[in-house]
Amino acid sequence: MVDDYGQLYTIEGIAAAVIMLVTAYIMLNTTTLYTPADTHVIDMQLQQLGNDALSMMDTTDRVIPSSQGANQSYVSYLSPLEESVRYSDTRNFNNTLKIYANSLYGNPNPVIDSRPLQWNSTIYYRTTGDSVGSYPFANSERNLTGREHYVTVTRWVHLNETPSNNTPGLSDPNVIIPIGPNGMRNEDQVVLLEVLLWRD
């Protein structure tokens, strides 16, 4: 009953079945092409711009060592960013960030970018209980709805308690830390300003 007729037939059948299955599998698999996302370039440009703007806001423009008092040295000078965070001056922060990040320049007068940046920022601090707390800081006109594609840029801000002679631009002992919610330590500290940036 069992003989060796049809061997090649059988092999041929098996091969054909295997070929059919495997080829169908490959065809379905290769339809999912990997396309490098173009949004990465935009993210890179946006992140670089945001980091530059925050870094420049964190640089003091002018150092004017005071001749009054031996305790003044120019390391007490607050950068515009440190001042904004320390005095919770969100209006100043918003204006400065808008100027730094949104200007483009025509020749010779700068124009404003037609697709301006929007942002939403938060301050993170280390609490007295050694955990990390946060409070919201400045926002641009448009609120974050959660559906925007945003990039995150951060900047360390040093909140300095050094007493001054009430000279503008220097640390002011009349402003007492905590400037945020309870739990913020009342002393020299470093906080993280985290800004979410997107274009409309």
Binding site: L33, P36, L49, S55, P110
Partner: protein
Amino acid sequence: MAKKMDNSGLLSIDFIAGFTIFMIAFIAVATLISGLLVNLQSKTIDYDAVAYRTGVILVEDPGYGVDPVSTNYTTNWELIPLVQKENILRYGLAVSKDYPNILSEYKVSKFFTIPAYSGDYHRKVIFDEPPILGPLTTPLYHYNIQLTSIENQASPKYWFPPVGDEVSNITNTGYIHRVVKIKAPANGDNPPMDMAKDNTNVVVSGIPNGTFIVYFDFPSYYDKQDPIYGIDPLTENTSFTITNIPANTTLQALNTGLYIDSNPKLGNVGGGDTLISQMDQGEILLDGVLPWTNHSSIQNLNSIRVFLNPEFFIQKNIERGRQYYIRFNLEGSGYNTTQDYNFPWISTIPGTGVSSPPLVPADMEVRIW
């Protein structure tokens, strides 16, 4: 069945079915495979990457070159004379690599305004290296670099003509936008040197009466100043004004010029110090307007304004570790000698009352296509 295995050329149905499906699937895959390889061997160049790299080199790198005199590597490429610009390896605009995004005004003005440098930007800023070298090679990239200060700041405004090719409405450009601060030139007018108020009026043997001395303590500039807030006459333009010159004073050419202080430890300039060079004509404005030509003696001055650029010091082979001073022989002023009026520097030590030169916010845009 054995009887079917003959050479009549008939194939079984299932083989035909399988083979048909195989061919359809194979043709589909072959079409898709040709699409797969497009992403791996793209003919489109990533212009945004080139623009980003160019932006980083310009804004975060101080540049690099070989100093022709000392044959050391230096980041002050702007001080290498124009005829030896082949020694420049890379153009960068930052003050130093520890302070990214702070640009040196002298580097910026040279980069944007000297046409002789712009022929090198393909190789030394954009690093555009076409595969075939030689005089007839056309570069791969067009570029356009612009720098403008941001409005609404109470500080000097900078606008330079853009460098590179004209931007027409080309759709596929690589683009990067950087925010920087330009360190403006220092100004010794802050406060001005008032001959009446600041005169120490001492007698120094060997130095004629009426000499006004402006002292440059170069070691202090490097030891005690912050690179972005300090004043560095050897790498920046500087200026100062001597005001309130009494009537009947004559500015003499003899005994006026740049001197080296041979004995700085003594605390006084000495009469025996050697003259390095006389002041050149373009450096001094009398009464703020008239250049001092012919080194002739001038009478009835109110003020003397002096402009110094780094080449003033470099061309005279100034050593950074020594002290120098500029003497003005103001005969008939009624004073003896003003000793050691220090050209100011911004110290980290409190109590020195001079402002730093301002940092001016600016935008840089780089386009590559």
